[in-house]
């Protein structure tokens, strides 16, 4: 039945092939045009599991641009006796860097009028003093305490730096603002770097380095932009009039370095693979038209990109990147068709159609399983892959035979020569050796680990890691803090939530371990309440008492009668403000770190040490409100890896089930189906057994590569079983050999790659395909003979 329908379709297309060729050319032309019209996405969130914590953290890091900052550690080649020359060189570099690629540069702390700013900030103290603090102040207003305090002020004023502190003493004789100032200092130093401030610049503890923090609109994921940014920095370092050494610390360095390594790897891989493919196609097939086999999957991917975009509306770049894998899988259909036609003539296409289509359908089932994923990007991937493979199957079955020649007789040269159909000579030791091999690998599998550390995929050059190690040695901050994010539609609402959550976090972690803007600034709601209480407190007798006690001690310490007038004059002068005290530049700097306003949404960030214990302690605080969440970069990479891994494992099981179901459905024989699975089983066990022997763990990348191996090896199994079961003389065994060799050549070239991801793919594909192919060619025939000796058709 199948042969009849296929034959009829094949003949129909043969008769009207010119029309189909024209149609195809038009479609290809439209597809090239369509490429420029498609909206491609560059959002990695599409490829992440629908884990809310992961998605929210990634979105936060992207929007906050925290990761996009560039740090420059600058030193002089010849150390100078004092810091001035280094500061001069730093300022010159900072001035030269500003432009489109560097929008802002932090060189240090603004010093100019910082004292006046701080004194002005003291005007807000009445709004920031809560009930318990006020009670404490009240209990301290006694004659003895006030006298003691004035004595301290007197002592401090007579110290060498006393004059500097005088404005603070006059405005706040009781030291009411001390706690806020301590919090202010803690917050400004909560960047986590070991810096000293000298001449308004960030100086290392050894005094030999300055630090510049650059703001850039270039995203980490923008390889081209990152390259331009680094080139811009290097150019201005070289043009500096000072002899300086600059270490650049930024995610962009990893992007550029990875890209450089990947490009180099791709060049090597392409060179090795192209040469090998060309030699193989020309020497084995001895026919230039064999190159057309390569063309089929490329055309399929081109057409599929357009069709998928029409269906889905948009496509992710990450999905398009998977096109190379599709090409690797789909090229096999062309090889089978070409070999069959050259070996057994044009009509042999009909003979091999069933195993080729069965193989393609089982491969499709792997990608079909992606529809069961919670990752939206995987749905795109499934749609794109299925369309690509279907188109390639159709092109290989109906177009390729006409393109490679119209000879009516087989062209039996070299490997395409006619050979006898049937099972090769009996070698029972092969099965025994296979069993020993499998058992040995199963033993090795016991040492297999899941490696979820995402850093293993960072293939940056060694100098990038060396520079980072040097940077952390000088500046500290080896670990970046975790962040508690509070979101709300308005700043006031966010501040209210932040006040409440910060109080709990202070209680849980301690004030010194939780860096929140709530320690120096509260919502208007709370400030109004505090101010009312403050006024009531002082008007209720505290002012009178304090004046009395101060006056009693003035003569003792030779203070003038108006010594503390600034305090009393401003006692009720605190003015309420909406939002933040924007008139104070130092507060604006703090705001940048603690407050983020995007698209009419406000987020307030608080920082704490990124430890599992801290995360565990704070997690209950965020569970009751969706707009409050934790961002831990340390946990994030693990969460992503874990989620991706569990997603892929789930999909692997679904794909496995679908393959089995399709096999039984198409072959309608449980023993044939099981025989077809031998290469898949061997390949999977080999991959899992080889990885520990090479000291490698199982990663999400190797699982994805293993899925490709499954897709290919199931084809080998089906072809070989069909080949012997149907007693075919269409050169199927040689087509399998060629397809395996082409895949191993392509994947083998990846073993020369420096980049860890490419190397992992190479190891997985080479080991899996080699084992799958060997078992298909050696074990399957022997097992077939042992299990189905008299059932050949």
């Amino acid at each position: 039945m199948f042969d009849k329908y296929f034959s009829s379709a094949f003949d129909h297309i043969s008769k009207n092939r010119n029309k189909f060729h024209v149609l195809l050319i038009v479609l290809i032309g439209l597809s090239f045009w369509g490429l420029s019209r498609i909206h491609f996405e560059n959002n990695i969130e599409k490829m992440l599991p629908a884990n809310q914590e992961v998605q929210r953290s990634i979105r936060f890091l992207r929007e906050s641009n925290i990761s996009d900052k560039v740090m420059l550690s600058i030193s002089l080649k010849q150390p100078a006796p004092d810091i001035s020359l280094l500061i001069e060189a730093t300022d010159e570099l900072a001035d030269s860097l500003k432009g489109d690629l560097v929008t802002d540069i932090i060189t240090g702390m603004p010093e100019g009028d910082v004292i006046q700013q701080v004194i002005n900030f003291m005007g807000y103290i009445p709004q920031l003093t809560d009930k318990s603090r006020l009670e404490s102040i009240g209990s301290g207003i006694t004659h003895e305490n006030v006298d003691h305090k004035l004595a301290q002020i007197f002592t401090q004023l007579l110290s060498p730096g006393g004059g500097f502190m005088m404005p603070f003493f006059r405005s706040d004789p009781l030291g009411i603002s001390d706690e806020v100032f301590k919090s202010l200092r803690d917050l400004t130093s909560s960047l986590g770097y070991r810096v000293n401030i000298e001449q308004g610049h960030l100086i290392s503890e050894d005094g030999g380095h300055t630090l510049l923090i650059l703001e850039t609109p270039v995203l980490l994921t923008d390889g081209l932009g990152a390259g331009k940014l680094l080139a811009h920095i290097h150019k201005h370092v070289q043009h500096s009039s000072h002899d300086i050494v600059v270490k650049i610390i930024a995610g962009h360095c990893h992007t550029v370095s990875n890209e450089k390594i990947v490009k180099k790897d791709i060049m090597i891989v392409c060179l090795v693979a192209s040469t090998a493919f060309l030699l193989m196609f020309l020497l084995v097939f001895r026919d230039p038209r064999a190159i057309l086999i390569l063309l089929m999957p490329f055309l399929s991917v081109l057409l599929s990109i357009n069709l998928s975009a029409i269906i889905l509306g948009t496509l992710s770049y990450f999905v398009i990147g998977f096109g190379a894998v599709i090409v690797g899988i789909a090229i096999d259909y062309g090889i089978h068709v070409y070999v069959a036609k050259k070996t057994a003539g044009p009509r042999s296409i009909i003979t091999i159609a069933r195993p080729v289509i069965t193989g393609a359908l089982t491969t499709l089932s792997v990608f079909f399983s992606f529809f069961f994923s919670t990752v939206s990007g995987y749905t795109q991937l499934a749609c794109f892959s299925i369309i690509s493979i279907l188109i390639c199957l159709l092109l290989s079955m109906f177009l390729l035979p006409h393109l490679v020649g119209e000879e009516s007789r087989p062209d039996r040269k070299g490997i395409l020569r006619k050979t006898e159909a049937g099972i090769p000579a009996q070698h029972k030791w092969i099965v025994a050796a296979w069993i020993v091999f499998i058992l040995a690998l199963l033993l090795s599998m016991c040492r297999l680990d899941f490696n979820t550390d995402i850093r293993q995929f960072d293939g940056s050059e060694q100098h990038v890691f060396d520079d980072e190690a040097e940077f952390h040695r000088i500046w500290g901050n080896e670990t970046e803090p975790a962040i508690l994010v509070v979101g709300a539609p308005t700043l006031e609402e966010a501040l209210q939530k932040n006040d409440s959550i910060a109080q709990e976090a202070f209680r849980i972690l301690g004030r010194d371990n939780f860096s929140s803007i709530a320690s120096i600034w509260n919502s208007r709601q709370i400030r109004v309440r505090n101010l009312q209480r403050w006024n009531d407190f002082w008007k209720g007798g505290a002012e009178r008492d304090l004046r009395q006690y101060i006056n009693a001690s003035l003569d003792k310490y030779r203070f003038s009668s108006d010594a503390f007038d600034p305090f009393f004059n401003d006692l009720y002068a605190s003015r309420l403000t909406d939002g933040m005290p924007d008139e104070l530049p130092f507060f604006e700097n703090l705001q940048e770190r603690f407050v983020m306003i995007n698209d009419n949404r406000c987020q307030i960030m608080s920082y704490f040490d990124d430890t599992e214990e801290n995360m565990r302690l704070l997690r209950p605080l965020v569970e009751r409100d969706q707009s409050i969440y934790l961002v831990s970069r340390k946990n994030l990479s693990k969460s992503i890896s874990d989620s991706v891994l569990s997603e892929i494992v789930k999909l692997s099981f679904i794909a496995g089930g679908l393959i089995l179901f399709l096999l039984f459905l198409l072959l309608r024989d449980i023993r044939l189906s099981l025989l077809s699975l031998i290469p898949v089983l061997t390949a999977i066990i080999t991959i899992l057994g080889i990885l520990p022997l090479l000291g490698m763990g199982l990663t999400a990348i190797s699982i994805i590569a293993a899925m490709v191996v499954v897709g290919l090896c199931i084809d080998y199994g089906i072809f070989i079983v069909y080949h012997y079961h149907r007693n075919m003389d269409t050169g199927t065994d040689r087509a399998v050999t060629l397809s395996a060799v082409t895949t191993v050549i392509g994947a083998g070239a990846l073993l020369f790659a420096q980049h860890p991801v490419m190397f992992i793919i190479g190891v997985t594909l080479v080991s899996g395909i080699t084992a799958g192919y060997a078992s298909a060619m050696l074990v399957v025939p022997e097992m077939y003979r042992m299990t189905l000796p008299h059932e050949r058709k």
Partner: protein, 248 residues
């Protein structure tokens, strides 16, 4: 006629430029000479008399005490009248003690720019690094016999917020300072006179101990460890430890 006028203007510009250069050169020569002279001084022991005229006080305050300096980084300031107070700096670490509280406070100047600016000033004037101070102060030669220099903080200098000018008068031999007059922004001023200056004498170990000025704190000696407050991150005048929070 035009030619003559142009020639006169050109000559005048050249004269002015030379004069300006001569002035800069004079200052550089003086500062270099000072640095050279003072470089030969490795230790200083001197008593001082300080007159503070501050708006917060109803009368001028006279302070008496002793100063010790030992290169490269030791500096001690002991006051014994009208209060008993000691401050000792060693590199970036500062300790201070006063009789009123009876405790020793430790402050890391590197971690505390405000303290660094305040207490670093005095050490700065007593040091000999005048050439390097040109990046932070505009320096003017006021007199040559005896040598008098005036320092005005530049825009980038934190001291600009409270110091208007500092006038330093040197000894005849230019090996050390005779007096320092500091005029603050608000009109307050401090005059510091050095008496009995002893250069390159062995400094007694007690000079670097808290409350160990020769008289009358000698008997106090250093304070027991349990009295030491480690406060590298907060001002010294904190009385209350209750946190400021968010209301009830």
């Amino acid at each position: 006629m035009k030619k003559i006028i142009r020639s006169i203007i050109a000559a005048w510009i050249i004269v002015l430029s030379l004069a300006a250069n001569a002035h800069v050169d004079d200052l550089t020569i003086v500062l270099t000479r000072l640095e050279k002279n003072m470089m030969e001084v490795n230790s200083i022991e001197t008593t001082f008399q300080q007159i503070k005229k501050l708006a917060i006080f109803k009368q001028n305050i006279e302070i008496n005490g002793k100063v010790y300096m030992q290169k490269p980084g030791k500096f001690a300031w002991h006051v014994f009248k009208p209060i008993k107070y000691s401050m000792v700096m060693n590199g970036s670490q500062m300790r201070q003690w006063d009789e009123e509280t009876g405790t020793i406070q430790k402050v890391s100047l590197k971690k505390n720019p405000a303290f660094q600016a305040a207490f670093g000033q005095m050490r700065l004037w007593l040091s000999s690094s005048y050439l390097s101070m040109r990046s932070e102060y505009e320096i003017e030669l006021r007199d040559e016999k005896p040598l008098v220099l005036e320092f005005v903080p530049l825009q980038n200098n934190l001291a600009r917020n409270y110091i208007q000018s500092v006038t330093v008068t040197f000894r005849e031999d230019e090996r050390y300072i005779q007096s320092i007059a500091i005029v603050e922004i608000g009109g307050d001023s401090t005059l510091l006179n050095f008496l009995d200056i002893r250069l390159n004498h062995a400094i007694p170990d007690s000079a670097w101990r808290m409350g160990s000025a020769p008289d009358p704190l000698k008997q106090n000696g250093d304070q027991p460890d349990h009295l030491i407050q480690h406060r590298s991150d907060s001002p010294s005048y904190v009385l209350h430890e209750t946190p400021v929070g968010c209301g009830d």
